[in-house]
Amino acid sequence: MTAAIEVAGLTKDYGDLRAVDGVDLAVDEGDFVGILGPNGAGKTTLLEMIEGLREPTGGSAAVLGLPAWPRNPALLPRIGVQLQASSFFERLTAREQIHTFASLYGVAASHADEWLERVGLVEKADSRVEDLSGGQAQRLSIACALVHDPEVVFLDEPTSSLDPQARRNLWDLLSGINDSGRTVVLTTHYMDEAEALADRVAIMDHGRVLVHDTPAALIHRLDAPTRITLADGETITTREPAVEIARLSEANRLDGVRVQTGTLEDVFLDLTGREYRA
């Protein structure tokens, strides 16, 4: 498999601040990567350098085998980007908005309308973008990023202002896109999102990628103890859950028991030393 994204020693300084610090990252074609990290970790900066929006201070980034900087016109139709803010033309309706973006990519208007449907905005098609709710605007913004069926998709916190229902819908949508063979990179503050969607998770802090692996491997490597919560509220922490459960079974106390292994949250906590605040 070819690498969809290849990043080596990527660094970005803003004056004295090193926002991204020597990041190495390889993403295979068809992979779904979730980048997790607290505010200010450097996720957006990293993404923008890979997209070709920002000149790296050092290191290199290549997308689909082509250097990202300077901006490569041949690459642009092949990538889809949703920036962190909702970037819209003022005073256009949702439909006009996505039609405009479709035209920029030479995509037919009917195809754009399909995307409106896919993100559930048909009823809002004639509303101006200023009148959309935060979540609706975000969905429109994602539709605009995907309207030309790009091979590599970058989404910066795509679900940050969605309600649970819309978030689930978007997960389905993104999984579907990924299943059709496209590479997806998204940043998120939600552990469950990364766990549910991503084949691989990169955890960032202070401009560095601390780990990059499958969620299962990360949790496994954490080697966290298993927590068993009994019906009466008693919690048992153990490194040998099988033995413990057998013992509980003998004592006939298995009813209502909950067993928790390590979560991505534990991994995050362990790596960054801080509580994750979504």
């Binding site: 642009l76 990538i79 920036l83 909702s86 819209f88 005073r91 256009l92 035209s103």
Partner: protein
């Protein structure tokens, strides 16, 4: 080949145009607001149109009484004459504004009493009377042409209000919408990261800038059509021969003021800031460039200073070709000035430009 109305350029132009048309404030300041001034000034003008200068002739004024027929006709078209024997009363009426001028003859001298309250009216009065005296003098020498009173020539020298103000207000309107449009677009697109987003679309900067410029130029031409239409339909605006040169002139002027808008957008950090900066540049310039009043009466230093202002050149160029009857070549120098100004300011803006507000 894509059809003419598809493709990135048209999609962008359409998006920008809708964005403008749906912005009530922008449309108000680009079209309605300047038109209010035109209607206001046009309305003032109709009060003082030729034939409606109220003149009180005190006692015997042979110069006026003995006018030959053709001159008499022209004279009647300019003045509405009433007779009086009381000079003091006549002057009092002029003071109060009930009449515009009181004339008496003292021996060989024609004495006119009028106020400067209304410069346009005063100009017409003085000019017409001067022409009358000159004509009489000329006739007295026995040389041809005998007695001619050419009121028209007076009008040409000090243009009728509507003739003067239509080009000036149009210049101001175009300057405003071009500068505001460029400033607000640059800031707005930067704030929402749309500028960034467009960088990632497979369209060249040329296409984006081209679409933005085209829309502004189209708006300027619509402004022109509206101004000229209303001016000629309702206020008797008459264009002179090379008026069409105002079109290329206006196009270059639009570019020039867009560059100033870019500058305003480049040096400010918010959309309000950009629009205020554009306003700060354009409004004083409109005053100093003769959009609201002729600069003839302004102090010398101000008249000299006004020559560095692009709007002054736009206004003068448009006056020349639209109403002063100058040949089309009169617009070339102003166009050159505006073009150079546009290039210089665009280069400065490009130097100061930042992709982001931080």
């Amino acid at each position: 080949m894509k059809s003419l109305t598809q493709g990135p350029f048209w999609a962008l132009s359409r998006a920008i145009l809708w964005g403008f048309v749906r912005d009530r404030t922008a449309v108000f300041f680009a079209v309605v607001f300047p038109l209010m001034f035109l209607v206001l000034f046009g309305g003032l003008f109709s009060d003082q149109s030729v034939g409606e200068v109220d003149m009180i002739v005190v006692g015997d004024v042979t110069l006026i009484d003995d006018l030959p027929d053709d001159a008499d006709e022209s004279f009647d078209a300019t003045f509405d004459v009433t007779r009086s024997d009381d000079l003091d009363d006549a002057i009092a009426q002029v003071r109060k504004g009930d009449a515009d001028v009181a004339v008496e003859q003292q021996g060989e001298t024609l004495v006119a009493h009028y106020t400067q309250t209304d410069p346009a009216k005063a100009g017409i009065t003085a000019g017409a009377l001067q022409a009358l005296v000159d004509g009489t003098n000329l006739a007295a020498t026995g040389q041809p042409p005998t007695y001619s009173l050419d009121v028209q020539s007076v009008e040409d020298d000090s243009l009728d209000t509507i003739q003067y103000f239509t080009p000036g207000l149009l210049g101001w309107a175009v300057a405003m919408s071009a500068a505001f449009g460029a400033a607000a677009t640059l800031q707005g697109w930067r704030q929402t990261k749309l500028l960034r987003r467009l960088q990632l679309a497979p369209v060249s900067t040329r296409t984006v800038v081209g679409a933005r410029v085209s829309v502004t130029v189209a708006v300027a031409l619509v402004q022109m059509a509206i101004f000229l239409g209303i001016g000629s339909l309702f206020f008797g605006l008459t264009l002179t021969g090379a008026w069409w040169m105002a079109i290329p002139l206006l196009v270059v002027g639009t570019l020039c003021f867009m560059s100033l808008g870019l500058l305003a957008g480049a040096i400010t950090k918010t959309q309000e800031g950009a629009v205020n900066a554009a306003n700060f540049i354009v409004l004083p310039m409109a005053f100093l460039s003769g959009s609201f009043f002729p600069l003839d009466a302004a102090p010398q230093w101000l008249q000299v200073f006004s020559n560095v202002l692009p709007l002054k050149h736009l206004n003068e160029g448009m006056l020349d070709v639209m109403v002063r009857g100058e040949p089309w070549t009169a617009a070339l120098l102003p166009m050159l000035f505006l073009a150079i100004f546009a290039v210089v300011v665009t280069l400065i803006s490009a130097k100061l430009f930042r992709w982001e507000t931080t």
